[in-house]
Structure formats: C-alpha cells, structure tokens
C-alpha cells in the first residue's frame, strides 16, 4: 500500500535580486498514519514545506517535486478549486497564533460551524451538536458559553483549542500543525499538545508537527526530520534523538539548558561548519 503522503525531491524557491533562491532544496519523505516531527531553526524551511503540501505557496514562489502525492492524488496537478476540497476536509493546518487565524467578527461557534458545513451539508441541529461535542473534545468545559464568545474574549490557550476544534471537525486524515503552541506558555502548551495527540491517536490520523523545539517534537512524534537551510540533515526515531549524529542536531541539543543545569556556559553553534547558514 502506498503511504498517505509521498514527498520526493520537493523544492520551493523565490525570486530575489540575486536570482531565484531555493528555500527548500529537494527534500524527500513518506508519511503513514504516524506522527512526524519537522524541527530546525527559524528560516530552515519548515513552514514552506508544510505550506507546499497544501499548495499554499503563492506566486512568485515556485514549488516543484518529482512526486508530491496525498493518498495517490498528485497535489501539484490539482486546480485551486480541487485543492479547496482537500484543504480542511482531508488535510488541515493549525498555525502559530490563533489571533491571526480566527475571524474577529464571528463567534467561536459560527466559525466552527462554517468549517464543518463548507465540506458537508448537515441539518442545523446536527451542526450544533457536533460543535458542542468537538468543543468538549478539546476540553472546553462549558462549550455552550464558549461557542457564543468572540475571539478577543478567549485566552490564548483557549483560542488555540478553538482553532484545533475548527481544524478537526471535518475529520481530516492528516493534520499539519505549524508551531501550534509557540505563542502559549508551558503549562498550556502541554495541554494543547496532549489534546492534539489524543485526537490524532484515537482518530488514526497522520500528524506533521512543525516546531523549533526539539524536546517538544521528541515527546509528541514517532519520527523526526531535522532541517537546516532547506535540507533534511538527519532523520531518526523520536526516541533516538539523543543519539543523533549530525553535528547540527548535536549542536542544537547541546545549546539547550536543562532543568538540572550545571554548565557555566552553553555551547553555541559554529555556523561555519554548515555551508549556507
């Protein structure tokens, strides 16, 4: 059986005054119903990879690949109209900051309803029931009240849970979460990721978790790709991150302070070791 997502030699480039510059430089990976982490520093091409999968890179950006297929469907050959029936319904994306992703003039309930009925015609009563069930699934205790609130009336953590509810209510097969908790603080981060993890596991979805935080991807993923300047420098099982071999990965690991920190100085990356950074 073919994997859910096949990516072969994916390239993303943008024109600059020095000519076309590749920001994703020919990366390849397959994804089954598993949790894949993409980790690397800012600017390494993580978001562009996620967006390319959803065909969200606008001109003058250019995406090429030997193969980019979701459940056998050739993404690069889909029209914008065809993509609209894939986005949300079959592949969903959660982004970093709910404030920029939620519509400020619609209530939480209306937005979740819209996410659902765009893809499925349902009677109003059933829509309402599904919304309340979904809000409960993201552990919102008083879903009736919250459904009536506007985005500015909910906290960051709750806003992000609302986003997740919106993204998951159409029942997608693959969820791409791009730094979904970077705007939240630690205790709330763990809650939100536990919710995503729970839903991904129980619904048997695929997950691509994009983050600059190695601890976080190693906790919530099965497999990890480490990206540096548009290339994948290392691929490993999440449990084996501590025995990563590439100097870039080792450098990132060593640069993080630990809870029982005793070093007087943290090692910093010697960027001259890797071309192009």
């Amino acid at each position: 059986m073919a994997p859910m997502l096949e990516v072969k030699n994916l390239r993303v480039s943008f024109p600059t005054h020095r000519g076309r510059v590749e920001v994703v430089k020919g990366i390849s990976f397959d994804l089954g119903r598993e949790r894949l982490g993409i980790v690397g520093e800012s600017g390494s091409g993580k978001s562009m990879t996620g967006r390319a999968i959803l065909k969200l890179i606008r001109k003058p950006g250019l995406v090429t690949a030997d193969r980019l297929a979701f459940e056998g469907v050739d993404i690069l050959r889909q029209s914008e109209k065809q993509m609209r029936s894939i986005r949300g319904a079959r592949i969903s994306m959660v982004m970093q900051d709910p404030k920029f992703s939620l519509n400020p003039v619609m209530t939480v309930g209306e937005q979740i309803a819209e996410a659902l009925v765009t893809h499925e015609k349902l009677p109003r009563r059933e829509v309402n029931e599904r919304i309340l069930t979904m809000l409960e699934a993201v552990r919102i205790n008083d879903p009736k009240r919250v459904a009536g609130l506007y985005p500015h009336e909910v906290s960051g953590g709750m806003g992000q849970r609302v986003m997740i509810a919106m993204m998951l209510i159409p029942g997608p097969e693959l969820l791409i979460a791009d730094e979904p908790t970077s705007a939240l603080d630690v205790s709330v981060q763990a809650q939100v990721l536990d919710i995503i993890d729970d839903l991904v596991t129980t619904k048997g979805m695929g997950l691509i978790l994009i983050s600059h935080d190695l601890n976080l991807v190693s906790r919530y993923c099965d497999r990890i790709l480490v990206m540096n300047s548009g290339t994948v420098v290392e691929e490993c099982a999440a449990g084996e991150l501590d025995s990563a071999r590439h100097p870039y990965t080792r450098g990132l690991l060593a640069a993080m302070p630990t809870i029982d920190e005793s070093r007087d100085e943290l090692p910093v990356l010697d960027r001259s070791q890797w071309a192009g950074t």
Binding site: S42, V188, A190, T258
Partner: protein, 253 residues
C-alpha cells in the same frame, strides 16, 4: 550596608488595571547582585510586576523600593537610571526608523550624558555586535542581533538592575544560548541584579539563584534554584509546572 542591601523590595504589593486588581499582596526581597526569576502561568501578573517596578503600571498600593529608595508612583528618574527593562519581542520594542546608533545614544541624551560615540562603540562590543551594525535599522538585523541591541540599550545608562521579560522566548535555541551566555557574562562583569520573567524552567536553572512561582496574581512559592534543579519544589502548582517541563525533557535526557 554589610553587603546585604536589597536591590528590589516589594511589600504587600497590589497592582490594578482600572477596576481590576491583577497582583495581590506580593512580598519579595531581592538582594543586590542576585538573579531572581518569576515563573508561572500566563496572565498570573509576572509582567505587571516588572511594569510596576519600571513605572509603567502606576496603579499600585504597598511598597516598591529599588536599591533602598522607595519608588514614587510617577516618572522616577533616579529609578529609571538604576533600573532598566528588556522585553520579549525585540522587534516591537525597537523603533523601526531609528538606527542602532540613534537607539543607543538616546538614553544618554535624555540623561545628559556626554561622550556618546565612544559609549555606543564600547557597548556594541560588550554585547558582541560588530561595529558595522551601528548605522543599520532594526529590520536589517536578525532576531538575536535585535535582542542584543535591546540589551545594549538597557545597559547604556549603566544601571544596577535589569528587569528582563521573557528575553529569549522569541529566539531559536542556539540564539537563546548566545543571549543567555551574554546575560550571564554581563551580570558577572557589571555586578548586575536580574529580575527575570520566563516560562522556561531550564533557563531559570542556568541563569538564576532563586525563583518565585506565581499563580492568579499571587506568589505561591519562593525557592532556591537548587530545589528546582533537583525537582523538589513543594507547592502543587509548582510541581505541575515541573511535570510539564520534565515530561518533555525526560524523553531526551
């Protein structure tokens, strides 16, 4: 003096925004030269405490003193000179149309300090920025470089106390490491006192001597950093924070 002067003393401090009180009865005594962390859930009032000390949240009751001087509710030049603040987002906190040179000279001009060119040059060096950045604008710098500028600006008046609000939260781990090393070195070289807000407990282990855990506007626990390192914080909420961090680091450790 006996070497035991308080750098920051907060007594029965309540802070409000309009009708809403967000910080309740906080007592803290931070010694000169100490590095002290405020941690806790978002919205618990950590930034508000820094803002009140810096004079940016004037609606408070109780006592705030900095280096033995009680702070007034208004603009307090003596405090401003001794005590500077660094914010999380170096992009938002630097003026987009001012060069680095102008940004660093400004506090000197306001306080009538001379010899500005030399001081700017020396400060760029101290925070590890090449002189070629001097006449650039913020958008021409990386996130880590901008945070170095923000730290440099805070240090221009040679303050004794730095209030640091999530100074590395917006940065990649490798850049975070550079800034943490820089802060540690500057503290050692200049005998600074730090009051640091962070949600990252390992950062506290690296940079701080003590911490206060806050929840719902109250301090629930004050502890030595050794107790954090050995996982021995006692309050249930502190243990929750520890568990959230350990659960994540445990996989790699």
């Amino acid at each position: 003096m006996g070497g035991h002067m308080s750098a920051i003393r907060l007594s029965n401090l309540d802070i409000s925004y309009g009708d809403t009180k967000v910080v309740h009865g906080v007592n803290l005594d931070i010694a000169e030269g100490e590095s002290f962390a405020l941690v806790g859930e978002s919205g618990s009032g950590k930034s508000t405490i820094l803002r009140a000390i810096a004079g940016l949240a004037p609606d408070w009751t109780g006592g705030i003193s900095v280096l033995g001087q009680a702070r007034s509710h208004g603009v307090d030049r003596a405090v401003a000179r001794q005590c500077q603040m660094v914010f999380q987002d170096p992009y938002g906190s630097l003026h987009p149309r001012k060069t680095i040179d102008a940004t660093l000279s400004e506090p000197l001009a306001i306080h009538g300090v001379g010899n500005r060119g030399k001081r700017v040059e020396a400060m760029l060096k101290a925070v590890g920025l090449d002189q070629r950045f001097r006449f650039r604008f913020p958008h021409q710098l990386s996130g880590g470089q901008r945070q170095r500028v923000a730290i440099a600006r805070a240090l221009m008046l040679e303050p004794k106390v730095l209030l640091l609000d999530e100074p590395t939260s917006a940065l990649d781990v490798s850049v975070q490491a550079e800034i943490l090393n820089l802060l540690k070195r500057l503290r050692r070289e200049q005998g600074l006192t730090f009051l640091l807000v962070t949600h990252n407990l390992p950062v506290v282990s690296f940079l701080c001597d003590r911490l206060a855990v806050m929840r719902h506007g109250r301090v629930v626990e004050v502890a030595d950093v050794d107790l954090l390192r050995s996982g021995q914080l006692v309050e249930p909420y502190s243990r929750e924070l520890l568990a959230a961090t350990e659960g994540r680091a445990g996989v790699i450790a």
